[in-house]
């Protein structure tokens, strides 16, 4: 089957029910997307499909309905997305393992809600677990990213 990831089309030979997470990680070697729980409880595997935040561990390969964007497609160390720049500015990460998913979730939130309230942020981000507990910095970085995006 064909998959478009970060603007590049790939042909993959996988079972229909292989989760997109494992297609990305093991078949396409895109490692920014993380395995945490496998059951949509932690959000570490969050990617965008046509701009919408989805849990790739619960999305079967055959069900992918549009273009996939991973953290690597959001921005790069040389060309940071506003959300990534805010994550650097606030030094959010500790172990950092959840942060790809956190940033993808935050980017999708800000694409539909450019000025989220604290309650909006809590609602949108509550499915993304951070075992290191960096939530105060995630909240602050989402607000900074919102400001940066509005200035553009």
């Amino acid at each position: 089957m064909k998959l478009t990831v970060n603007g590049t089309e790939h042909e993959v030979d996988v079972e229909d029910d292989m989760p997109l997470l494992w297609v990305l990680r093991d078949e396409l070697n895109i490692k920014g997307v993380k395995y945490g729980c496998g059951v949509a409880q932690c959000g570490a595997c969050t990617v965008h499909i046509d701009g919408e935040a989805v849990r790739s561990c619960q999305t079967a390969a055959a069900d992918v309905w549009g273009e996939v964007t991973t953290i690597e497609g959001l921005g790069t160390p040389d060309a940071l997305h506003a959300v990534q720049a805010a994550w650097v500015e606030h030094q959010v990460a500790q172990c950092g393992y959840c942060q790809s998913g956190q940033m993808m979730q935050a980017a999708a939130l800000l694409a539909t809600n450019p000025a989220p309230t604290d309650a909006d942020i809590d609602d949108a981000m509550n499915g993304n677990l951070c075992r290191c507990g960096t939530y105060p910095r995630i909240r602050a970085a989402v607000k900074t990213a919102a400001t940066k995006l509005q200035e553009v």
């Binding site: 395995y35 496998g38 059951v39 690597e72 172990c95 950092g96 499915g127 951070c130």
Partner: protein, 745 residues
Amino acid sequence: MSRIGKIARRTFLVGSAAVVGGVAFGYYAYKRPVSNPLLADLGEGEAALTPYVKIDSTGITLITPRADSGQGAYHVQAALIAEELDVELDQVRVDPGMPDPAYYNTALSAEAAPFRSTDDGLVADTTRGIMDAMMKFMGLQITGGSTTVPDSFEKLRLAGAVARETLKAAAAQETGANIADLKTEKGTVILPGGGTLAYTELAATAATLDPVNDVTLRDPSTWRLVGKEMERIDILAKSTGTQRYGIDFEVEGMVHASVRTSPRRGAMNGFDATTARDMRGVIDVVELSDGVAVVADNTWRAMQAVNAIDIDWAPALYPPEQADHWQALSDSFNADQQDSRVRDDGDVDAALDGAEVIEAEYRAPYLAHAPLEPISAVVQVTDDRADVWTGTQIPRFVQSNVAKLTGLDTDQVFVHVLVMGGSFGHRLEDRVVREATQIAMQIKGTPVKLTYSREEDTLQNDTRQIAMARGRGAVKDGKVEAYDLGIAMPSVVASQMGRQGLPTPGPDLQIVAGAWEQPMQIPNYRVTGYRAPGLAPVSSWRSVGASTNGFFHDVFLDELIHTAGADPMEERLRLCWHDPSRKTLEAVAEMSGWGSDLGPNKGRGVAFCLSFGVPTAEVVEVSNIDGAIKIDKVWVAAEVGRVIDPINFENIVQGGINWALGHAMNSEITYSDGMAEQRNYYDFEGMRMAQSPEIFVRGLENGDTVRGMGEPMVPPAAAALSNAIFAATGQRIREMPMAKHIDFV
């Protein structure tokens, strides 16, 4: 001069040895020198300056032997070297190096000695020294116990200084300049005329010189990095998805494996893998000593196939049902099971005799570590070497265990430590490496990556200890007069070291850690530890014994203070004799506006715990919203001697508070049919964003010993929450998870 200065001079006399193409520095001045691990693979033109700095023509590498599980340990270690070496953090490579006895952990052994960290007396100091020598003898390169900063603080700066001065000597020899006229900056030596020589250009010459050992550490007032806000060296990679973790590691020709071992932590009677063998991508099914693994061409296929195996598990060797675990603890409060009574002030029995005795019982459950990155390891075994790539806090144990399993010598086993997606103590165990090695031995030459499913990670977790405490106390004239606390739990140290085949004779002070050594002057004051053997396997979980005992000790103290009618802050201050500890209480009182009117349906609680040498005071403020508790704000003041990086410090403390409060509210591991009943984050949640409070942090620098802050914020947090809930509702919660007794928003 502080004590740490004396210890450093005693243990860090730097010697040198000339070798082909280079020189190495870094002998310790105990009974015999420790060999330098960098000598083994020194190339032509390379100079290894101390075991912590390596310079060749291509660049400068700082060796950071303490593992980084997410708390910025690599960053802190690199900053300490860079401070004296005069390099910028963006100029250097950071490498954890290969496991070696030279990287033994001095600070961890000091905390194992049976003396309070507040005790500077001769006997305490001497004993710490003996423990230190033992640790060196055993070569324990362990990351844990919040010891990275204390162990590294002087050692790494000295390493940087010796390297810097030797490079200056090399520049003097090459140019004929007077050393006193040379300066250093940004990885270069600046010559009197303004010209510069890069350290990388001087490496070969530096290799021919004796090391310059006569160095003086710079005055803190001149520090460029330490104590200042820095950008963590890994922050860009971790903000762009480009950081690679153990689970991401790939090597040519690698296959993927998944495993199931007994959820009852015992034996396997048999299995039927007929279905699994025919599944797509399956390469092999491998029987292990206590389970079975599938090797496949993809992680998911391996997991699917291993789950399709029908396995018959033998019974657990511990009680199958949770109620039996509680009963075992309850039955442990007796003289035969007494493990220690290292605090026994005044005459508790006499003080309680005839007094109105306040009694209470407390419980804390088993807890999983559940770092977000599931456990994994890549192992390749050939006839003459084994390579292990994994995120681990115990590389020396890993090396030794792989050598035993494969029959290779330890110097044929190469452990490559990878970045960890969290640990919280989980990676102080090495089960995954042993299993991956067993698989790799069946397919020699082929690298095997073993990745646990989240469910396997939860089922095989050596959890935090379960614990129970019983308090008896009395008050007199508005003051706490008698305090008697008994604590029962399994021995974490015996369980954990037992899995490494190490005996642990004598009492386990973790059973009473966070309780017995509190700097409180209660006239009649006793803390007794009771050992409960035969329960489920347990291991070090962030703050270890103090994670349960900080809760028990301080909530019971709070109950007595309320009974006495005293103010919780004032009475703790009155009881506390240790000035740096008092200052943490005074700081949180000021930060939180203690004593001001909060209005209806709100409450504040204070708690204090000294653990890992760090006095930490916390205030929690809660709202009671129609019978459900919301944690609004938390204030933390901790005495750490020196804050290395204020931004990282704040982040780690905030995270540790979320860690402690999330589990205190929501989480437990329970057993039924001999297995943990929880499987994944839907039934073991911890803290999520919506429950996460505002957290205000202050690091105090009044002490003369530098301490690590990976754990000490944890022990007081649950107590402060329980105390705040009591203040807001009048309901006293004596058991975690607290959600069993009260609703949370």
